[in-house]
């Protein structure tokens, strides 16, 4: 009982300490709450994403292997399945389906709004047991002419659950519902490495419907295979490849494993990469809170120095004396924990919403993660106690006689103010005081500085990431629109001769001003062991509409040449003059292609950040064995016509697969990244709020500690405004220093993210590092303006200083 009473005394005492510093305690608890809450929410993201993705891929029975005939090539329905049967791998196959996957143009215009984008028809057996569809409104198409519309696209344009679409060739179809499909959990367009729901529409139809819509009755060009658990995927793949080569000797094909599917790869890679990024910010936030806690506890312990000394003189063991500051820390930690729960739950709800917006999946597991919360809570509890350990240890190691002394012998050290000894700065002693004070309490200065540094690091890295994406997309857009901002690209359904009917129809259209034909081939560049998938486009000798920019070298006039992106050259480790093997399709018949390998010299580097864009010239096309073929036309609208006019006129023409703005890929990426911007913007806002809390905390401690100095100044007639100005100048100095360090650290974090995380999650984007003046502005506002303004929060207290009492305080 007596023992309990003794403990209760320490607790009561510590509660009084907390009450005395209630505003600081509350501000640090709030800081910790923000840190713990954000840590919990941010750390839960990857768990949710991986859980949701696992469940969603399993629920829709995603394929393990996909065999696709080279673009333009088809086989008779049943031939691919025959190859599978002949492969001898059927025992390992749980399900397989032949499909027809063909490009198209989709007109989803509704209610006076024009929505015309390139797209794809995916035809598969309605009763298949692989790559099934999940309805997100309406129902799956049963038969006849009905189709289903990919949900991400429909959601982007807020299309109704059911409706009508016009496909290439003017075919009108009804869609009975919106669906999610595992291959399109993240929508990718040909040539674009990631999300393209705003510019690419996928239509799902029963196989017979798709064949009819594509004008390829009885034809297929794709087979998806789901393996039984425990099957050797590599062995099965080889068996089927061998069988396909035998069954379709004239037709090239590519194999894509489940892990290589863009949607699959991106979901997991992205989750992993984003988590690394979020972890950094979560830890920075917790770090900022810890530095602030350290400051307050140091100050409290310092203020208790004499009391600790008296305790030691009375024989109280140091461990017992340490209880009081530790109990204060525990209260801060508990406050942080309590505040962390609503912050965490709110952040959870918000991030869950962002997640659902960003990656709508059929199964979403965004449950509260108790383990992650406990981890954050443990950190939130331990960090303040660790912060207390250093000053407490220092205090209880002092000899009692030193601790209890007052007057001259207790005079505070001048810290690092000696560094300015003999240095005469402009202005009087008052003007010099802020800098001296900054140096006088180096430990606190450093802790405050680190807190501000952490915040500014978050601001610069996060906002810099947005800037870098923007700069990258601007560079890409600028490159795509060189020469004409209205340039469009028209994709033909099949490669045709340069004097073909489709080409003539396009260039002869009323709304088209000029046209420039080219051939775009999905190819692979190989140099040594490095391989890179690219969209290789031929650039004709006559280039009235557009030609790529040359950063170095060029496409020569008479001999074959290859122009690749700077980032592609880096990835392949090649330079001008190096020879690269190009694996590309070559037509072997009206519907068949085979893959061939041709070596071309790298003759130029272009500056577009889109790594997958590669170009060759007319001589190059000849070397590739595809001279005179065309499947794309760059056009500019005629005078008085708009891009929409061109789309409206060309879409119904036969043989047209798609018409889109030349920067459509960039715009698609831009749309997707805007969703991610939300997370960055909110994090930056929270960081700015944390800066204010850190600065307030530091200022309040200073005001508390310097009461006597301020009273002395008032006794000398120094006005309150002048003293406040000094406090602001001091905060400004720390803020400026913290901001400077934070900007450097932010650049380092940004650079690390851009060179490690982003290339893994967005390999096709040669990201350009950029930090705009606006970001520096936000950093200056968070780290300097907010911090410098914080002393104003103590103005009332300064004005109410008890002069007489403060001047006689014996510390």
């Amino acid at each position: 009982m007596r023992r309990w009473h003794r403990q209760a005394l320490w607790v009561r005492w510590a509660i009084r300490d907390a009450r005395r510093h209630r505003f600081q305690v509350l501000s640090i608890a709030l800081l910790l709450g923000l840190g713990v809450g954000m840590f919990t929410a941010m750390s839960s993201m990857s768990i949710w994403r991986v859980d949701s993705a696992d469940s969603s891929f399993a629920a829709l029975r995603m394929h393990d292997l996909r065999f696709s005939l080279v673009e333009g090539g088809t086989a008779r329905e049943g031939e691919l399945r025959t190859a599978l049967t002949r492969s001898g791998a059927t025992a390992d196959v749980a399900a397989a389906a032949e499909r027809l996957v063909v490009p198209t143009q989709v007109d989803a215009s509704t209610g006076g709004r024009t929505i015309m984008v390139p797209g794809r028809i995916v035809g598969a057996p309605a009763d298949g047991d692989v790559d099934t569809l999940a309805a997100r409104g309406g129902s799956l198409p049963a038969a006849g002419t009905d189709v289903a519309l990919e949900h991400n696209f429909a959601r982007h344009y807020e299309l109704p659950e059911t409706g009508a679409l016009t496909l290439a060739g003017g075919q009108r179809v009804a869609y009975t519902g919106q669906v999610l499909a595992p291959e399109y959990f993240i929508v990718t367009a040909p040539g674009a490495g990631f999300g393209a729901e705003s510019t690419f529409a996928v239509i799902f139809a029963p196989l017979a419907t798709a064949q009819r819509l594509a004008g390829k009755p009885g034809q297929v060009n794709d087979m998806v295979v789901r393996l039984r658990p425990g099957a050797d995927a590599v062995a099965v793949q080889r068996q089927i490849e061998r069988a396909l080569r035998v069954t379709l000797p004239e037709t090239g094909f590519t194999v894509t494993t489940r892990d290589e599917e863009p949607a699959h790869r991106m979901i997991y890679k992205d989750a992993e990469g984003d988590q690394q990024l979020l972890d950094i910010f979560a830890f920075l936030m917790l770090g900022a809170a810890t530095f602030a806690a350290f400051n307050l506890i140091s100050r409290t312990v310092e203020a208790q120095r004499r009391e600790i000394g008296i305790g030691m003189a009375l024989g109280v063991p140091p461990a017992q004396l340490a209880r009081r500051p530790f109990l204060l820390s525990a209260q801060i930690a508990l406050g942080g924990l309590i505040l962390g729960i609503p912050v965490g739950l709110a952040a959870d709800a918000w991030l869950e919403g962002v997640l659902e917006d960003f990656f709508p999946l059929p199964v979403v597991n965004a449950a509260f993660q108790p383990a992650v919360f406990l981890q954050g809570a443990a950190l939130g509890l331990v960090l303040p106690l660790l912060a207390a350990a250093v000053p407490v240890r220092r205090a209880v190691r002092v000899a009692p006689v030193e601790a209890i002394q007052v007057g001259a012998r207790a005079a505070r050290s001048s810290g690092l103010a000696w560094m300015l000894k003999g240095l005469r700065l402009p202005g009087g002693t008052l003007a010099n005081l802020p800098l001296r004070n900054v140096l006088r309490t180096p430990r606190r200065t450093i802790m405050t500085l680190l807190g501000i540094t952490a915040v500014v690091t978050i601001v610069v890295a996060m906002a810099g990431l947005i800037d870098s994406f923007d700069a990258t997309l601007d560079a890409s857009r600028s490159e795509a629109l060189t020469g004409s901002r209205d340039r469009l690209t028209v994709d033909l359904a099949t490669a045709t001769a340069a004097d073909g009917r489709a080409l003539r129809a396009v260039t002869g259209a009323q709304s088209v001003g000029d046209g420039q034909p080219s051939l775009r081939l999905e190819s692979t560049l190989v140099a040594g062991r490095e391989r890179l998938d690219v969209a290789l486009e031929t650039v004709p000798d006559r280039r009235p509409v557009w030609e790529p920019t040359y950063e170095r070298g060029a496409l020569p006039a008479a001999r074959p040449g290859l122009l690749i992106a700077r980032s592609a050259a880096d990835a392949l480790d090649v330079g001008l003059g190096d020879r690269v093997r190009v694996v590309h399709p070559v037509p072997t018949g009206p519907q068949t292609f085979r893959l061939e390998t041709t070596t071309l010299p790298v003759t130029g580097i272009h500056p577009s950040p889109l790594r997958f864009l590669a170009y060759t010239n007319t001589a190059g096309a000849a070397a590739l064995g595809v001279p005179g073929l065309v499947n794309r036309i760059s056009v500019v609208p005629a005078a008085g016509s708009s891009a929409e006019d061109v789309k409206a006129e060309l879409l119904p023409l036969p043989g047209i697969a798609g018409v889109q703005g030349a920067a459509a890929t960039t715009d698609a990426v831009d749309e997707v990244l805007k969703e991610f911007d939300q997370i960055l913007v909110v994090t930056v806002a929270i960081a700015a709020a944390m800066a204010l809390l850190i600065a307030f905390n530091s200022t309040a401690i200073n005001a508390d500690e310097r009461t006597r100095e301020h009273a002395t100044m008032f006794a000398h007639g120094v006005p309150v405004g002048r003293v406040m100005l000094g406090a602001i100048a001091e905060a400004l100095l720390i803020g400026a220093l913290g901001t400077a360090v934070g900007v450097v650290a932010g650049h380092a974090v940004l650079s690390w993210v851009l060179t490690t995380t982003v290339p893994e999650t967005m390999p096709d984007l040669g990201i350009v590092s950029a930090v705009t003046p606006a970001t520096y502005g936000v950093a200056v506002i968070s780290g300097i303006v907010v911090v410098a303004a914080a002393p104003l929060l103590t103005l009332g207290r300064l004005r109410r200083t008890d002069l007489s009492g403060s001047l006689r305080v014996v510390e």
Partner: protein, 252 residues
């Protein structure tokens, strides 16, 4: 000790110029429901070149009296005129200006700025009083208090006596006509205390007035006049009761 019925009469020295005039000054505080009378009916005049010691036990109101003169506190009754300025009802701004140019303080706990050197602390006094060439003034004052060789030292590098001498140099550097010292030797040993008193005594005879607050009856023996306070009232004003002595003859 019974309080005198009659208000004590302040004997005025030879000069007619009055630097400090308190007329029936009183100060009451409210603590919870009760009222505390810190000062009551105090009248006092101090002239240039006078060294006045306000003597009294702890809680007698002597510091409150000093605060009234120094414009750190305002009376609830009576009138305070210092250096020709009626500060009884002065605005906050006027009080700040008055403290810059009218009075200077020496504190028991020195109250030096830890981040400033001895020279800079003294310079601060000249700075805020807007004296020309504050650095030269500060050097001169520090040399006068015997710290010419400690100019670049920070407070924590100085002994208690040295710190108090810096405090005095800071007060002198302001050049203000009135110096108010609150228990200036309270934190010091005897020898150092004597040195401090010598400095204050010397300063009083340069045309300024010095008011020292102390509870030490021995120190009061160096005063030209002693104002004894008890329970907020002046109980005696006059030369030291035990007789005036030279500073060198002090013992405590």
């Amino acid at each position: 000790m019974p309080l005198p019925d009659a208000r004590p009469v302040t004997p005025a020295p030879a000069t007619d110029k009055v630097l400090i005039r308190l007329e029936q000054v009183g100060r009451r505080y409210h603590v919870g429901d009760s009222e505390v009378v810190a000062l009551a009916d105090v009248s006092l005049e101090v002239r240039p070149e006078e060294l006045v010691v306000v003597l009294g036990p702890s809680g007698s109101g002597k510091t409150t009296l000093l605060n009234m003169i120094g414009a750190l506190d305002s009376p609830t009754e009576g009138r305070v005129v210092v250096a020709g300025q009626d500060i009884t009802h002065a605005s906050r701004k006027e009080l700040f200006a008055f403290r810059r140019h009218g009075v200077s303080f020496v504190f028991q706990t020195f109250n030096l700025f830890p981040a400033l050197t001895a020279l800079e602390n003294a310079e601060f006094g000249a700075d805020v009083a807007e004296r020309p060439d504050p650095r030269t003034v500060a050097v001169e004052m520090l040399e006068r208090v015997g710290l010419g060789d400690r100019l670049g030292h920070f407070p924590h590098e100085l002994s208690g006596g040295e710190q108090q001498r810096v405090g005095i140099a800071r007060a002198l550097a302001s050049g203000n006509p009135i110096l108010l010292a609150d228990e200036p030797t309270g934190e010091l040993d005897f020898q150092t205390g004597v040195q401090i008193l010598e400095l204050l005594h010397a300063h009083a005879h340069t045309g300024r007035a010095v008011v020292i607050v102390t509870h030490n009856r021995e120190i009061a023996r160096i005063a030209d006049r002693v104002v004894e306070i008890s329970s907020g009232r002046v109980v005696r004003v006059g030369p030291p009761e035990e007789g005036q002595v030279e500073i060198s003859d002090l013992r405590w």
